[in-house]
């Protein structure tokens, strides 16, 4: 059995959506960071993520019969067609909110890419081998900030604990196995997300402990829907801004 190009495109698009939306969020920090060095560092992560999104979208667009390109995929789909996790579309909040969201996602992204480097699809394994170098740096950077702010001042500690508490219900979705994941996994193209949970939880718990933060309970109610195109209210606004020019001037080339 071979993975249909159409499934591979859908899978690559799903991976791209996460990193594009998160990269778009981070890019809004550029010029507004708490200190110049960190403004530059966070922009680096945004650059990497949007670069990864391009690679995934190019893979998805390659061999598409309907003339898709990286830009039509990014700019001409509506919110319900995006399959990113809800976590990445949540607003930036303050620096601590952004870095906590980043840490939770980076750690997931690291284990995901680690699995994808072993993909039976060479396009994906090649892409993952390159991306994991970037993401292991991201994961280290965001973990350091979670520790620094968690174990910094009383104020920073309480800000980080509430960031964690607010974001936690969005983490369960990272490990949801969609039917596409199951199909992809059957052909050793990609992992079952549920299989990444144990590593993720171990790493996240270790860092949160170093940050003197309390890991929220796992059995609370979790938010889901992104993987099926059911998003928060935030995504529509993000897309309205991001897609404005190609939508307003449909015949223009940029």
């Amino acid at each position: 059995m071979k993975l249909d190009t159409c499934d591979l495109a859908a899978y690559a698009t799903m991976r791209a959506d996460d990193v594009l939306i998160l990269g778009q969020r981070l890019s809004a920090w550029c010029g507004h960071g708490p200190v110049l060095e960190q403004d530059i560092a966070l922009t680096n992560i945004a650059l990497d993520l949007i670069g990864q999104a391009r690679a995934y979208y190019q893979l998805a667009a390659h061999g598409s019969s309907d003339g898709q390109t990286e830009d039509t995929l990014a700019y001409l789909r509506d919110a319900h067609e995006f399959k990113n996790h809800l976590l990445v579309e949540l607003p930036n909040g303050h620096w601590g909110d952004t870095l906590m969201r980043q840490f939770l996602f980076d750690t997931y992204n690291f284990y995901l890419l680690e699995a994808l480097t072993k993909s039976s699809a060479p396009e994906l394994s090649g892409l993952a081998a390159k991306a994991i170098k970037e993401v292991s740096y991201h994961a280290q950077y965001s973990a350091e900030w979670v520790i620094r702010l968690g174990d910094g001042t009383e104020e920073s500690h309480s800000r980080m604990q509430s960031a964690l508490d607010i974001l936690w219900p969005y983490t369960d979705e990272l490990f949801e196995d969609t039917s596409l994941d199951v199909a992809v996994h059957a052909l050793q193209v990609g992992p079952l997300p549920s299989a990444l949970r144990a590593d993720w939880l171990a790493k996240v718990s270790e860092v949160l402990q170093m940050a003197t933060l309390t890991v929220p309970s796992l059995d609370g109610y979790h938010q889901r829907g992104g993987l099926h195109g059911k998003h928060t209210e935030h995504l529509g606004i993000l897309l309205a801004e991001m897609q404005f020019l190609p939508r307003a001037y449909p015949t223009a080339q940029w």
Binding site: L20, Q24, S27, A28, C30, G31, H32, G33, P34, V35, L36, E37, Q38, D39, I40, T43, N44, A46, L47, I50, G51, A53, R54, Y57, E70, D71, A74, Y75, H94, W95, G96, I147, R148, L149, D151, G152, T153, E155, S156, R159, E241, M242, F244, L245, P246, Y249, T251, A252, Q253, W254
Partner: protein, 323 residues
């Protein structure tokens, strides 16, 4: 008195022999002040200059253009860092300089007090604003203060890259749909005169120029640099089919330069005084980032102190299980 006089003489002779002044060297107080003011203003311009372009990052119309713009704005932040460090060699701290900026005591290039209103502004800024900055900065690569000159060499390479990328955006827009071409022309109309003002007042109205030239801080006057910029840029506009918004603009066979119309120095003065279209927003944005970052910087400092204390303490005291 006599000793000071001879020090100044030796300083001038040293500069005249094309030597670089280094941080530990003796220098006249006024030279130090001029250099610190110029470098800190330059650093502030890089950092405030991130804002007008950052305004379009989230709306960049393609993934490629988003990456290019993001990297460009990030470069400007890097320039700010080099320049703050170079200024710190003369004993003024970055905190102090940033404080002066936030309180409105320090100046930055007035060009960044103009708004970015359409996507072609990303082209116009790269092409004209980075272009005008380069004219000045190429000269500053040979400025007499060593750390400033060295920072400039590094920065200039990136600025000329920005300038090329900006021109490419303009070229692309000018060759695009009628709407895109209109955006490009509109951007040129709005940025042309402010770009010419970037070189500063006319020589006749610039009393500090002579001293700066003698000290080889500057090597060309404002008017010389402005003329070079006009001569270089007008043919570039013509080449992509855009019209420079100056009815007096005319090639002068005799001088071998373009003649151009009078600059509205009243507008320039108003923007310098804080009455430009975006002065308040720009300063407010810098203040907001600074204030909202306060708890982050405090936490980072507190954490670093804890780490130091832990490193200094005997292992058994901090981590009993490690024994």
């Amino acid at each position: 008195m006599g000793e000071e006089f001879s020090l100044e003489h030796r300083f001038q002779a040293y500069i005249d022999a094309e030597n670089k002044i280094e941080p530990k060297d003796w220098m006249p107080e006024n030279y130090r002040k001029t250099i610190v003011r110029q470098m800190s203003q330059h650093a502030h311009s890089e950092v405030v200059g991130m804002l007008p372009e950052a305004n379009w990052i989230t709306r960049a119309p393609s993934l490629r253009s988003k990456l290019i713009l993001l990297a460009k704005v990030q470069d400007e932040g890097g320039h700010g860092l080099y320049l703050y460090s170079a200024a710190e060699t003369l004993g003024v701290s970055r905190e102090q300089m940033i404080d002066d900026l936030l309180q409105g005591k320090a100046k930055y290039s007035s060009i960044f007090n103009y708004p970015t209103l359409n996507w072609a502004d990303m082209g116009a800024i790269g092409w004209l604003v980075d272009g005008a900055a380069i004219a000045n900065q190429v000269m500053l690569c040979r400025t007499s203060y060593g750390p400033y000159a060295r920072a400039m060499v590094r920065i200039c390479k990136e600025e000329s890259f920005h300038q090329r990328q900006g021109y490419e955006i303009m070229m692309h827009m000018a060759a695009g749909t009628p709407e895109q071409k209109a955006m490009a022309q509109d951007a040129l109309n709005r940025w042309w005169w402010p770009a010419l003002m970037m070189f500063g007042p006319a020589d006749a109205a610039s009393p500090n120029t002579a001293q700066s030239m003698a000290w080889k801080i500057k090597r060309k006057t404002n008017d010389e640099l402005r003329q070079e910029f006009v001569d270089k840029t007008v043919p570039q506009a013509t080449f992509i089919g855009l019209t420079v918004p100056d009815s007096h603009l005319k090639w002068n066979e005799v001088t071998g330069h373009y003649d151009f119309g009078p600059i509205d120095w009243e507008e320039f003065t108003q923007v310098v005084k804080g009455n430009g279209p975006c002065n308040k927003e720009r300063l407010a944005a810098r203040n907001k980032a600074h204030q909202e970052g306060q708890w982050v910087r405090d936490a980072a400092t507190a954490f670093a102190k804890k780490q130091q204390a832990r490193a200094a303490a005997p292992v058994s005291a901090t981590n009993p299980s490690a024994a």
